[in-house]
Amino acid sequence: MTQKNRITGGLVDRSTTLNFSFNGNRFQGHPGDTLASALLANGQIMMGRSFKYHRPRGALSAGSEEPNALVQLRKGSHQEPNTRATVAELFEGLEATSQNHRGSLENDFMEITDLFSRFLSAGFYYKTFMWPKSFWEKVYEPIIRHSAGLGRISFEPDPDIYDKGFLHCDLLVIGGGPAGLSAALAAGRSGARVIIADEDFMIGGRLNAETLEVDGISGSEWAARAAVELAAMDNVRLMARTTVYGAYDHGIYGALERVTDHLVTSNGKPRQILWRVYSRRAVLCAGATERPIAFGNNDRPGVMLAGAVRAYANRWGVSPGKRVAIFTNNDDGWRTASDLSRQGVNISAVIDTRDGEPRAQIPGATIAMGGRVMDTRGRKAIHSIKLVDGRTIDADCLAVSGGWNPNIHLTGHQRGRPAWREDISTFVPGQDLPAGMSVAGAANGTFTLAAALAEGHAASDRALSDLGMTPKGGDIAKAEDEAANVTAFWHVSESKARAWLDQQNDVTVKDIKLAHRESFRSVEHLKRYTTLGMATDQGKTANMLALALMAECTGKTIPETGTTIFRPPYTPIPMGALAGRSRGKDFRPYRLTPSHKWAEEQGAIFVTTGMWLRSQWFPQPGETHWRESVDREVAATRGSVGICDVTTLGKIDIQGRDAAEFLNKVYVNGFATLDVGKVRYGLMLREDGMAMDDGTTARLGKNHFVMTTTTANAGPVFRHMEFCRQCLWPDMDVHLISTTDGWAQFAVAGPNARKLLQKVVDSDHSITNEDFPFMACGEITVCGGTTARLFRISFSGELAYEIAVPARYGDSLIRALMAAGEEFNVVAYGTEALGVMRIEKGHAAGNELTGQTTAANLGMGRMVSKKKDCIGNVLSERPALNQDDDLRLVGFKPVNKSEALASGAHFIARGKSAVMANDEGWMSSVTFSPELGHSIGLGFIKSGQERMGEIVRAVDLVHNKDIEVEIVSPHFIDPEGDRLRV
């Protein structure tokens, strides 16, 4: 197809032809085209269907405010819905399809909804689908959801990659139009670190769409030269295709850079980058958005904003029609007529709502001063317009200008309220701007070129002066101030046909009036009731008209009617960009223990615990079920010796003259009397008296302790103790530092643990029971002089040690230990076997330390020393936490030994129904005990310590299990602890 609407001029590169397709039809365009400009050049006026009524729609605008021309770009997994054709940069092979229709774009079956429009007014869902109630979820909602929606996702994983980044500058210039370029040049020439970002792929803003001159050359040429100058400055970062979408605290802005969207393929590089920009000052030069006028059937393809029609002609060399009419309430609309006429386009009429003399001579055009368009004709593209005086005028394009609204969105992202300016009939930025932000140019309501250039320059100078820098930006670029008078005019009241305000959501004048009649008069209510201003365009071309109409209905002024709150993002941000790299295995970092490589070699099955990857069990040849592996590991450990990597436990080095007293305060039990070379179990509470964490702390010297925490609480405990140290007791000489990653630590457990260790511990360190008894610790050497630490502690209930070496030796140590243990048939055991043995021994762990249990609940009430104070001591004495029938941690075994217990089951007395009122507690941990040959559990039950031998029911309603269990001691093996001390 030929580019029948391509006219002379424009900034596209006509020496190169780009092939692309739309709905399978092949077209041609040029570098510099957008998809919309290329479609218009080819005479493809209709580009989509409306959301609700499925009415034919064409491009309304030439920018990111576009409500209608939404397309699906690319194919397959690369497909992206709701792409605005008006900002999609054309590239060779681009494939686009229209959306929101059933059948073809031209023949949409769903257009039938337009016939029922009188029944589909604002709030019709709420009024219509009331009966029968049960139909809502099963019938109505599925049908509505099937019919609604904008575009379709591919339902395939996004193959593109995305990145994030951080930028810093003295001055962030948001927008690369005349004011932005003027500001960036002034700041850049002054030596400031400048970032200038513009959403367009061509820097210059409206300068590229106008025929105005700057410094004696065309505005577009001046912009191009400015861009070259800025790009050459080391202190300036010029970012095209970058939308600053949000203003956040402390001068931080969010920006989306579309890196490869204009290319055929990303070639494995990030498609988009989400930047966080730290600015010391920012100048918002985001320009303005033209607003339409509401009149009958003003949504037909071919009805466009006047500034957009002018942009298509001046920038892209495209006339959207052969006979163009203009409907305006301001001087700017006349420039569309003048510019197009100069390019040879037939102007059929200029209709100005204002009385008086015509603002320009337009050859061949019907001039209607004080006129109004009340309707249009043409189903898939307009062919004529009808004026209120009854005249019908041929036009295949109607350029409408209702004035301009400054793009003040970012000024309101921190709840700043705009101010009304009557002289230009629009809102401008208010006084309460985000800290460090100023506004210049059209975004500030300064619509004329010379004034915008001056204001940008001045804003830059002020910002630099604020920062203590000397502005050296030179002269302000010279230009003329064009005519820009406007007289407010919002809608044509004589129109009988539906007049659209929000074309994206099919909200009409009638809907606003209905909302008013039904008392949805607050702008926030108006928005939610009518859906005005929602979806991808956020009502950029609609909100002002709706406000004006609501003001008219209520008899208030527009500023009295107010505005909704602007929130980020300014334009849509793809979910992929928000996710960045955080996808799949890169969702979060992994922490590996020093024995990880060795464990991989053994075929270990890994489990994530927090960020750690831990060995869960080590399957051996012939084992077909995890239980086989775990039972073997437990039996071998209890029978001889086993080794487990416990590096993940938090390790905190505590030093200082007051370290012992500090531990006395953070633990419930005493540590001041702990001898050097000894370890003690400790329990710490939160301030509210609930158990926070437990672990062991070893005293390596008079003023030197090493604390271990649970894996999960390593960070929180460190943070808690730093708070205690810095804020609660700043006069104590205590210093903390994490050593978790610094030491590879292994539990060596089982009757032959000592014999095994004696083969690796250097002989000048005796670890006999006499020299190194239960709960001893010391700094030793292993394997011929390597620094190590040894702790005689046990989580398994067996004779056990934990041995630690600097992490760099961890791989060597596990290999040495396994080799040394060969003669004892040593096994490596994972977290599952660890869990089995700790339940058999009755040790509390994460399932019991939930943050909702007390020391008394855990059976450790007597550990809370009353000879000293500690964190949580006072509140642990609350009466509600000290009832006679408090929960106690006890053991459970099934009456029928063949039955398996389930954690999460609740305890109910025999003969009582399984309801909340009869709930006596819950099972927290269960396992199959290889030692006992049946399932066992730990759990909390009221007065548990006094109910040994009692039979209760463990009811698991989730899994429909109800079994009888006997309350027993939580210490299933070696209750006296004899094995620990041999």
Partner: protein, 189 residues
């Protein structure tokens, strides 16, 4: 003699790679010792540091260099600094303790961290993708140090030469940290 031999294994196995404009390498022989200044012991520490190394206690966010240039002290907080120096073994603590005596509390930190040097004219471009710190040479010159996070991981960063930075991050997550850096480099090239 022990039957078993212990071999030190760097967190990243001594990784080293060069890209167009960026070089990334694990610094394996770096020892790190945390030095905590006892409450009220600032003067004693200042004197010990001056006597032993001819330098001053660095303010938080700053570094100071021993007069022989071999040991760099990173100011981590008002009462804590890291001594960073070349030392291949695991006895770095003894070196610091021997020099500063009882002026401070010392904790071996060498194996807590993986140290990577990223250098070259495009090193800042790569770091820009994951590092929130302003790395402009005027804003972050040699002599400064910062603690930050990169891709959820805690990192200590300081410039050690023109277009060259040392990054310290947890050794257990060294693989993820390296992946983050390699991805950044890939994304900019």
């Amino acid at each position: 003699m022990s039957e078993y031999t212990m071999t030190a294994l760097p967190a990243l196995g001594g990784y080293q790679a060069s890209f167009d404009g960026v070089t990334l390498q694990e610094v394996t022989a770096t020892a790190i010792v945390s030095i905590a200044i006892p409450l009220g012991g600032d003067d004693a520490m200042a004197k010990a540091l001056q006597d032993a190394y001819g330098t001053a206690i660095p303010r938080a966010g700053h570094t100071s260099l021993a007069n022989d240039g071999a040991t760099r002290f990173l100011g981590m907080s008002s009462e804590q600094m890291f001594a960073v120096f070349d030392h291949a073994g695991a006895h770095a603590l003894d070196v610091i303790a021997g020099n500063l005596k009882d002026a401070g509390y010392y904790t071996l930190q060498s194996d807590n961290w993986v140290a990577l040097r990223i250098s070259g004219p495009r090193s800042r471009d790569a770091l820009e993708r994951i590092c929130p710190i302003d790395l402009n040479s005027a804003a972050f010159p040699q002599g400064k140090v910062a603690r930050t996070t990169m891709e959820h991981l805690g990192v200590i960063i300081y410039p050690d030469d023109t277009d060259s930075f040392i990054l310290l991050s947890g050794s257990s997550s060294a693989g993820s940290f390296l992946h983050a850096l390699e991805t950044s480099i890939h994304n900019i090239l």
